[in-house]
């Protein structure tokens, strides 16, 4: 396949901009290139059956459908894998009755949810009650549009893609409140307000943790951020943002805030299945509940994908010698690793109380994220420093700026997490 055709295909997918980016289409082995090109070629093969005027539409729709199908399948697999993994962490086998090794469990769950009665409370605001799950899922799906899945696989290459991602993520908070409000149930409403308080509190450290990455990469485009991480020292040590002091701190802050944004344990307080009659989802059943459930998993996946893009080098290989493996496979590997981390966390940490949750965000994560901005600024200012001594000083200073506030703030935070004291009861 000639280079001209490759360029043509690349242009088709990303509007002709990827070729001009650093870390874009490069000359590599023919086998690697064929694999790299395979999804794009499949899309073009599908599109070429359509008449020329709507070919662009068919190609784009194919991309949308492929993304939706891939992440819907990932959701289905995740529900099973998560239960299996949690079971193993608690010394039990997990679901193993439906089909071989319980592989048909998601099918059984799906059928069960679909045939359940869809109850709408008599006093509910019916259009909004219907709209909430739809909006929740839609906003979560929007976030997938700007993730660069591979060297050539960027569904929408927005210049402000990171901004778009978090704007879409913020839309889910609206859907949560719609769900609580439209149910006409005081418990739902209270739970929705609690959920909203949590989501907004953690939105702040989430966004602040992203800013250092934007400062390092100098762009708000996810594809640009990935391209900025596409270098290796000695061909072995990747220049991912997570390996810089401010990037490492940002990654940890981002993951903590992402746990809360995705309503995952230990911050699964809005739903708290065992305590709160499912919070704002009290009045939802059947397929609408399934939509919320799916939206939550997709939100978690989207946040993991964004964490991979921002901190873990996106689709970049970990060392220069491994570039023959297609870029989208690296992306999937990193995504699965982060999802496993989410599951591991859920299997390990107990749920926080609401006051502990708020204290963690406002007294710990937010100040640390603000300090991290300064760290990133110092780090960037020192980037041009000449000589080993200056560089060493830059690393030491940056790590000190990360670790000293962490220790100091952590001491104050830990003091309040001890045994709860009661004034009148013993």
């Amino acid at each position: 396949m000639s280079g001209a055709v490759l360029h043509f295909l690349a242009d088709l997918l990303v509007g002709g901009r990827v070729g001009s980016r650093p870390g874009g289409l490069q000359a590599r082995g023919p086998a690697g290139d064929a694999l790299e090109q395979a999804p794009v070629m499949l899309r073009d093969w599908v599109a070429h059956w359509f008449p020329a005027p709507v070919r662009w539409l068919a190609g784009n729709l194919f991309g949308v459908l492929a993304t939706l199908a891939a992440f819907a399948l990932l959701f289905v697999a995740l529900t099973l894998v998560e239960r299996k993994v949690l079971g193993r962490m608690q010394n039990r086998p997990g679901p193993n009755r439906a089909g071989p090794f319980g592989l048909l469990q998601p099918v059984a769950d799906g059928i069960k949810l679909l045939v359940k009665e869809d109850i709408v409370p008599a006093a509910a605001d019916k259009p909004l009650h219907f709209l909430a799950p739809v909006a929740f899922l839609a906003f979560n799906l929007l976030a997938f549009a700007v993730i660069p899945y591979g060297r050539l696989l960027v569904p929408v290459d927005l210049d402000a893609g990171i901004l778009f991602f978090f704007a879409a993520g913020a839309g889910t908070e609206l859907a949560v409140f719609i769900a609580g409000w439209s149910s006409h149930n005081k418990y739902s409403l209270l739970a929705a307000m609690r959920a909203l308080a949590q989501l907004i509190s953690y939105e702040l450290p989430l966004l602040l943790a992203v800013v250092p990455v934007v400062m390092l990469a100098g762009t708000l485009s996810p594809a640009g951020v990935v391209a900025a991480q596409g270098r290796w020292t000695f061909g072995l040590l990747p220049h991912w943002h997570v390996f810089t002091p401010c990037g490492a701190a940002g990654f940890v802050l981002f993951m903590l805030a992402a746990l809360a944004e995705a309503n995952r344990a230990p911050f699964d307080l809005p739903e708290a299945e065992s305590e709160l009659i499912a919070g704002h989802l009290t009045e939802y059943s059947g397929f609408k509940y399934a939509l919320f459930f799916m939206g939550e998993y997709l939100g978690m996946t989207a946040l993991s994908a964004m964490a991979v893009t921002l901190y873990l080098g996106g689709w970049q290989a970990p060392c220069a010698g491994l570039q023959f493996i297609p870029s989208y496979l690296w992306f999937v590997l990193k995504l699965l690793a982060l999802l496993a981390l989410f599951m591991w966390t859920r299997g390990t940490l107990p749920r926080l109380r609401l006051d502990q949750l708020m204290r963690l965000s406002w007294k710990f994560l937010t100040p640390l994220a603000l300090i991290n901005l300064g760290t990133a600024a110092c780090w960037q200012l020192g980037a041009g420093a000449e000589g080993w001594g200056a560089q060493l000083g830059r690393w030491v200073l940056a790590w000190a700026l990360v670790l000293v506030p962490f220790t100091v703030l952590g001491r104050g935070l830990g003091a309040g997490f001890g045994r709860r004291t009661y004034r009148y009861a013993t």
Binding site: R88, M89, N91, R92, P93, W344, T348, L349, T407, G410
Partner: protein, 200 residues
């Protein structure tokens, strides 16, 4: 420092996760209907009747239909009809021995009172039946199990019972022999003391 406890917690769950694939001590779930559920030796539930010879279950039943267990059973779940021969003499054998699963409370009192070690506690717990009258009423044939089975489920107790039975049997034989000898001695002594009858 903040976070060390969290890291320790992560290590514990990771050990559980990895251990569940190779360490049976960490993976204790038994797939019950497919695998037998393990029971300890001291587990006792529901009585059964012991017989000695494998080839003749009903002939060598230890039960002599003395009906002590029937009288002692608090919920009265045992029903015994002694077997009699043509002349109306008891044959030291139960014609009917029924035990109602739905009534029995596994109190082991029948086992305590049995003077013949004929009834012992079993380890069965899957006694459900589709018919709650006949299905839950266990007959003599279903209740009878060989002594070998008793050794299997309660080895220590079975050995002790066997030793006692052998001891009792030898004691009884010795006693019988001694009595026979005494009778013989008495007979010969009497014959020696008394002159034989004339003409004998």
């Amino acid at each position: 420092m903040l976070g060390t406890g969290i890291v320790q917690g992560f290590a514990i769950t990771a050990r559980n996760f990895v251990g569940s694939f190779h360490d049976p001590a960490r993976f204790v779930t038994v797939q019950y209907p497919e695998e037998p559920a393990p029971v300890t030796e001291n587990y006792r539930n529901f009585p059964f009747l012991i017989y000695d010879a494998e080839d003749d279950p009903m002939g060598t039943l230890r039960c002599v239909a003395c009906r002590i267990c029937e009288k002692e059973c608090p919920p009265q779940c045992i029903y015994i009809v002694p077997d009699i021969d043509e002349k109306g003499k008891p044959r030291k054998h139960p014609r009917v021995f029924d035990l109602d699963v739905s009534v029995c409370m596994s109190c082991q009192i029948c086992v305590e009172v049995c003077p013949f070690d004929a009834i012992k506690m079993d380890q069965v717990f899957a006694l459900a039946a589709t018919d709650r009258f006949d299905g839950l009423l266990q007959r003599k044939e279903q209740l009878a199990k060989p002594n070998r089975y008793f050794h299997q489920i309660h080895p220590a107790e079975a050995a002790e019972v066997d030793a006692r039975l052998v001891g009792e049997r030898t004691q009884a034989e010795e006693k019988a022999r001694a009595m026979a000898a005494a009778k013989l001695a008495a007979a010969t002594g009497a014959s020696a003391a008394q002159p034989p009858l004339p003409g004998a």
